[in-house]
Symmetry: none
Subunit: 220 residues, 4 copies
DNA sequence: TATGAATGAGCCTTCATTCAT
DNA sequence: AATGAATGAAGGCTCATTCAT
């Protein structure tokens, strides 16, 4: 039930052996995450990644093959990281109402704390999911989550605290979406609505609203 | 009550006089919308825009100044276009329940039919709203919509069909978000969930779900 | 003896008939002189010339053919203008000492007042005199001046106030050179020597120095 | 007494370490000198410089930043090169008359052998000395030369072989000018005067003339 | 393992020039 | 006589990628 420790890999290069090499690889990955997230795939610069990682540019190619493969690795890591935290919630142990509230809040909070993840997703969709399509395990990664969602909904309906007939997939998209959109579009929204969206207080209010919407909807 | 149909402009260049020039300008704008939306700002190619517009590359610079300014013009046009359609809904003439349903459905449908708009927004947020900040009237463009939302909520609460105390801004973000996220992330979602999201039937189901969520939540 | 009223022409186009056309042509020529002199041939922009002349760019091509021909016309005009003023000095009527002094001072002053002429010459030499080679009358233009110089030197030597055996061509080059170099290189000189060169007082001092050098040299 | 042989540098890029890199840098600099001198700044082509240097265009930007900075580096090098040779004359060791003659001849000869230097100066003045203004040490570079000139003049006056009261700055400008103008305007002069100026014999005659003028002028 | 140097394709932008009215 | 619109070639500069050590 715990998060799998499997590291999803896409690089064609062999796993480096030495600790020093491992550290270099790690720094490149971190730098790449930052660069890709803040400038998009096309806007990201390999030079910049190397500089930020304090590594030689050649190492990027040695470890990851090319820019495309590096992107895929970064993307896959980001997915895995989120799922790892999501699994750690252990929502199946909670009563339906609390389980759902925790899922809602977690999604908003995680997204707010990881805008790179949001940026990565948007970029990947710009590419029509082309890179992700080359990653095998993504689908499997999400199966347990949907199972969890379905179980919570069923239990809630059985206990009479949730309405029946709710599609777990639709609801999952909605829960993720109301947080994702808020964070992803924070800059244009801030300008249109003329308010700050990412202050602790603003996030608190958004959290309350999201919970109210989902749980209000789920009322029988 | 309707917003003025003013076309928000950002180009520093004088509007061309002749009909032929106007047509060229129009073609460039359409081509740029397509190119920017499908590849992002950094990934878009000016050459490609010119080719698609069947215009000389030089004309892009004559009419719009440079790639940045062209982006801003495209973005501003996209916002204005959506707002124009949104205003044409005349939701204030409808009973609260129907008014809200129409807003929800419209947002999903418009977004689904205009994935370019979604792509544009994501890109602009990648730039942290830097370009939009240079456009003056965007804020004003959205004031009437929020007024409408507020009026509908108030009327619904007064008539006892909606719960009270709903924040119109939060709800607006939610309504747009549940549609936007669905469309914006259709490719990664399709891979994760292993379902088609943009078929007529799938959209129908999503529409029903969105309405159920918003109106279910608004129940007193 | 008076300046010839001949307009040296290089343009392949027929002389325009109407007064309006003539004025446009004149404005283009003035604008071109300014643009060529301040940015050089390669740095000059046809658009800029048209804008400054308040004329349509097409007119430049109608009147002058192309950028090259325009350059040649401007250059030839500049030469003719200087020679016209030079002839108006009537130095042959003066005693040798005064005649020479007047030539020296005139060259410095004219050059200082017409830095465009200096810039034009430098540019043309950058092109190894390629354009000027296509102008027929330049050589003839300078014959009378050298004749004058020779006459003054001969008279001075005969009267015993000048040394004998001075080559008029070498001296002419020297007289023009000590003024031309001062003006042409005013900016680099000012930085190297850390002094202002073009103030009235500085020009006065330079004038005195040039006269002292030439006349000091010519002493028997 | 000699000026330090410090190489005045303007490039913002780090000096390359390896010998190979240094050679490439050197080839680019030589090629740039040729290209700039023969076509001017605006007329020079970066592609052409790269081709002539047998280097990749990208290297130019890696080593020098951009075309502007490359120009400044070339210009500063040219100045330093001339000053280095000028210092090697050791004119302070000679009697005044010979010292002055050597300065005069050197300037003519150096200029005749380095028309690139002349072309560079003219271009820089076309830019109103804008680039040179960004170089720090140029002023200092010329201080020792003026000191030398002053010393020679003073000694000559004290020994009674030179006239008194000669301004060393004015004279320096004149000495450089009579050579510079001759070389800089060789093409237009050749056409106007219909003589060859750069043959060994012609240079010999010019040399004699320049010496005669300066030393004739300096007679007490 | 790591690095400095190099490369060629391509990108945004500009230019002199011509077309059509 | 004059003009607005259009064009193709090229120019400066940048990028992902590879070579050689």
């Amino acid at each position: 039930m715990n998060a799998p420790s499997q590291t999803v890999e896409a690089s064609p290069s062999p796993r480096p052996a030495s600790a020093r090499a491992h550290a270099t690889r790690r720094r490149i990955l971190d730098a790449a995450l930052h660069e890709f997230a803040s400038k998009g795939f096309a806007g990201a610069r390999v030079d910049e990644i190397a500089a930020r990682a304090d590594a030689n540019k050649r190492m990027i190619y040695a470890y990851f093959g090319n820019k495309d493969a590096l992107w895929l690795t970064v993307l896959t890591h980001a997915y895995a990281a989120k799922r790892a935290e999501e699994n750690a919630l252990h929502v199946t142990d909670l009563p339906p109402h609390q389980a759902m509230a925790r899922l809602v809040s977690f999604n908003l909070r995680y997204t707010a704390e990881h805008p790179e993840f949001v940026a990565l997703l948007n970029q990947e969709n710009l590419h029509r999911g082309a890179y992700l399509a080359r990653s095998d395990d993504i689908h499997d990664l999400y199966l347990p989550l949907l199972d969890t969602m379905r179980a919570v909904l069923d239990r809630g309906a059985a206990e009479g605290v949730f309405r029946a007939g709710v599609d777990p997939v639709q609801l999952y998209i909605t829960i993720v979406g109301i947080g994702h959109f808020y964070v992803a579009n924070q800059f244009t929204l801030a300008q249109i609505l003329d308010t700050a969206l990412m202050t602790p207080q603003a996030l608190e209010e958004r959290d309350a609203h999201c919970n109210a919407v989902i749980l209000g909807y789920l009322r029988p």
